[in-house]
């Protein structure tokens, strides 16, 4: 990754006679990102078969073609966009495809990489659509409420479909399945951003003082609490704890960013604690997860063999500092969900701690550039939207990685861009597209002062 140079480049901001667009930097980084992914693809083949996969060139061309198409569109319609966003997305998506292809080699009867490539293509297509069609992000603000309604419908829909692995979060038609909750994330953030942008002054400045905390006024807080409760309620019904945690986190972060009220954090944590204890009490599914988090190796002592968390920890530990090398690990021992929820374990085992930290760093780049965009923007809606979108990625990485690393209880959620799962990849590409659009606005040099 050529990030240091890029960072240095991108950091040179401020009034300059000829504004830098950063598009050439982006192109250079894209070439690097595609090269890294192709190199990984070749390494898998060399380590497993002793030679490069026959379709390595085609794979490289496909990924490179997607990246190039996206780049051309950005050059055309968002020429001031942050040059790090697209390459980071391409690199993460490329790493994901390589790791899924590698895991496919261990499961001869189920091949997920071609499907994932297809979904990635769809994701980039939607990226293009957003970048081209969405001229001004403020347009989204108008549809915030209807968006929230759609999101709620999307969330409720899976309840009417059979549970898969203990969670009702999929809509399955034949062999085709989507996770509507993924798309709902974006709509919810748009709603939060719009609502908070409108009411932030009321939320920030009024309300009762209780000891050192200033409580928010019920009138303004009511609707937002209602929406949030509806979402979390639905998710608890679907026993999708990862996503509820994510929504809750985004909600609290955005409330704080909008109002600067530490009271929100206190209330948030209190609500979270109550929620977690209640759900842990009521749901055996969640209760088991907490047990496994506290005692990941207990099932071994009980003679039942290693559970998924233990297998995941074994995989990470086996990778050590430098990793086994792509294709030379045994993370397939994790069993089911090795390609989706637990995909990070393969990264840890085959690329080592070094590779794992590099991936964390890539996510940090996405999150940091999102926050940077949010801080640089001028309109409150755009600011909150950018920060909210970046927070989705940051929190989701934490929830997933923390779960498989046994830092927090495991909750089923997908690692952005990397894990197998079409809905997830498409959603993440839309997030990056929105960030590209927002950063284009943020970095665009001000037109000659005529408006007022």
């Amino acid at each position: 990754m050529a990030t240091p140079a890029a960072l240095a480049n991108a950091g040179r901001e401020g009034p300059a006679p000829r504004p830098r667009t950063g598009r050439n930097t982006e192109l250079l980084l894209l070439v690097g990102a595609v090269a890294v992914a192709v190199f990984g693809y070749v390494e898998v083949g060399v380590n497993i078969d002793g030679h490069a996969p026959a379709d390595a060139a085609r794979y490289g061309a496909a990924l490179g073609g997607l990246a190039l198409a996206a780049h051309v569109l950005v050059r055309w319609r968002a020429r001031y966009a942050d040059p790090l966003l697209l390459p980071t997305g391409v690199l993460l998506n490329g790493i994901g495809l390589v790791v899924i292809y590698r895991l496919d080699r261990a499961t001869p009867r189920s091949h997920a990489a071609p499907t994932q490539l297809l979904w990635s293509t769809l994701g980039v297509a939607l990226f293009a659509l957003v970048v081209v069609l969405l001229r001004d992000h403020r347009w989204l603000r108008r549809y915030a409420y209807s968006g929230a309604l759609v999101a709620l419908v999307l969330l409720v829909a899976p309840i009417f479909f059979p549970a898969v692995y203990g969670s009702r979060i999929w809509i399955t038609v034949g062999s085709f399945s989507i996770q509507p909750g993924e798309f709902a994330k974006i709509l919810l953030v748009v709603f939060f951003a719009a609502y908070l942008a409108t009411h932030r002054d009321a939320l920030a400045l009024t309300g009762k003082q209780l000891w050192k905390l200033r409580l928010p006024p019920g009138r303004v807080l009511g609707p937002i609490l209602l929406v949030w409760a509806a979402f979390v309620g639905v998710l608890v019904l679907e026993t999708d704890l990862g996503t509820s945690l994510l929504y809750f986190g985004i909600f609290v972060v955005l409330l704080y960013v909008a109002t600067a009220r530490t009271g929100w954090i206190a209330i948030g944590l209190l609500l979270a604690a109550v929620g977690v204890v209640a759900v842990g009490w009521l749901s055996p599914h969640v209760h088991g997860r907490v047990d496994q988090w506290l005692h990941p190796l207990a099932s071994i002592g009980a003679g039942q063999g290693a559970n998924q968390i233990a297998q995941s920890l074994f995989a990470f530990a086996w990778g050590g500092l430098l990793g086994e090398g792509l294709g030379r690990g045994h993370s397939i021992l994790i069993g089911f969900a090795a390609k989706s929820d637990f995909i990070l374990a393969t990264v840890g085992e085959e690329l080592g701690l070094v590779g794992l930290l590099a991936v964390f760093l890539l996510y940090s780049v996405l999150v940091a550039r999102g926050y940077r965009t949010g801080i640089a923007l001028r309109d409150p809606f755009g600011r909150l939207l950018a920060i909210g979108l970046a927070t989705i990625i940051g929190l989701q990485v934490f929830v997933v990685a923390g779960g498989v690393l046994d830092l927090i209880p495991l909750t089923g959620a997908t690692l952005p861009f990397v894990a197998q799962g079409g809905s997830s990849v498409v959603t993440n590409w839309i997030i990056v597209a929105l960030l590209v659009r927002l950063s284009d606005t943020a970095r665009r040099p001000a037109p000659p002062a005529l408006e007022g």
Binding site: I300, A317, L321, L333, Y371
Partner: protein, 511 residues
Amino acid sequence: MLRRRRRPPGPGTGGSGPQGPPGISTTGRRAGLFCVLLTVLLGVQATRVQFFQAKRYDHNPANQRPAILRYDQPRGPILVGSDPVTGSVPTGGRFDYKRSYPDGPLYAAVTGYSSQIYGNTQLEGTEDALLSGTDSRLAGWALWDALSRHQDPGGQVHTTINKAAQQAAMQGLGNQKGAVAAIEPATGRILALASTPSYDPGSFAGSANADQEAWTKLQADPDQPMLNRALRQTYPPGSTFKVVTAAAALTAGVVTDVNAPTGAPWPYVMPGTTTTLVNDTTACDRPNLDLDTAMTLSCNSVMGYLGVQTGLDKMVATAQKFGFNDARLDTPVRAARSNFDTGMNQSQLALSSIGQFDTAATPLVMAMVAAGVADNGTVMYPQLVDKLTRSDGSTVQLMQPRSYSQAMSPVVAGQVQQLMTDVVDNGTGRNARIDGATVGGKTGTAQHGVDNSGVPYAWFISWAKPSGSTQVPPVAVAVVIADSDATDVTGGGLAAPIARSVMQAVLGGGS
């Protein structure tokens, strides 16, 4: 990461007034800092798992990776002569290769087993690092190999076993329960190591259900087929121990001329008791017999008396020079400890001197007794491995013959050799005679069980060399039959013929 420090927070764009709460620029930076904190937490946890706690997870018994790694390449072969007696076959399962034994039961007492479920024993166990390729001596560039996680192909273990002798031993034992150990006296190289009933180590080398069933069945077998009787089981050596007693008596000067009267009384009442030490043949029932006659006829009374005359200390010293009381006799497969008590009264010493009481020996140690006599008093350390090589045949380690002890002087050894040849020529060991060869031996029929009710152990120890040869005899052997259907259970009847065919196999130049 966030480069927020470049711009100090403050009256940023879009913030509230100076008196109001901090604006989004400030709160956004703080929230960003929170995201950084989360990433740092992840990094710390990843470092804990992948670095600080990695060893613990790697060695967790439920972690299959060490086993997968171990079986992902063919295991190096164990060779007899130039022929591998083990193989490695692909399984098609998670563990890529498993051990195979083309002639499993024949060499089971030599190789031991290497099982994906039940581990590795005996030679497969002691040489496991070399065979599985993890031995650091196999590596060309140890540091680079460690960094790149390069795995060396398994090395080769060349045994000292003589194929013809091994086959003769197994054929001779047949379906009786017993063991054979044969040694090359001048070097200590183990030529044959046989134990019956035997088993096929390949039957449970894999990790399938069939492997588990085979293992369970072998474990439940009352005949204990997986017990290596040649190395890991001790038996009272009975009269074969009289060779040790004779050597001790001659060394101590209790007897100087094997043909001179020893002064042994008859009947011999053991000191401190009223019990007489009885003989198996009336030919022994005379006082003052000479040592040569006493050995030829295997007279208990004379040898018991001589043991007591020699004294506990000297008897213990001589026995230990032959390998008794050595709990760490590693060939490299460790032999069970053969026992000769170090604290006994005189009647116990008398019984021990004829190989009874608490005296117990492995066939290996009794072969060392015969070999020590044959090698003019020098006992060589028994070794099962000739050399260790890499997969390309280059040498990792070459085993050198090394001396275990000087059990007696060459003069005394010559006298004992004479006693042993007389046993074969004129006495109880006639069944071991070989045309064209000089054979020295000693029979043993050891009582055991409550009131000696068990079927006696039939022993024979011997050595042989071509007639007229002045070289050290090329073979020494010990045979024990622990259980047989035969009606007449004696060392001369059951064990001597087996010893004879093993010696013949070696003398015949069979490879």
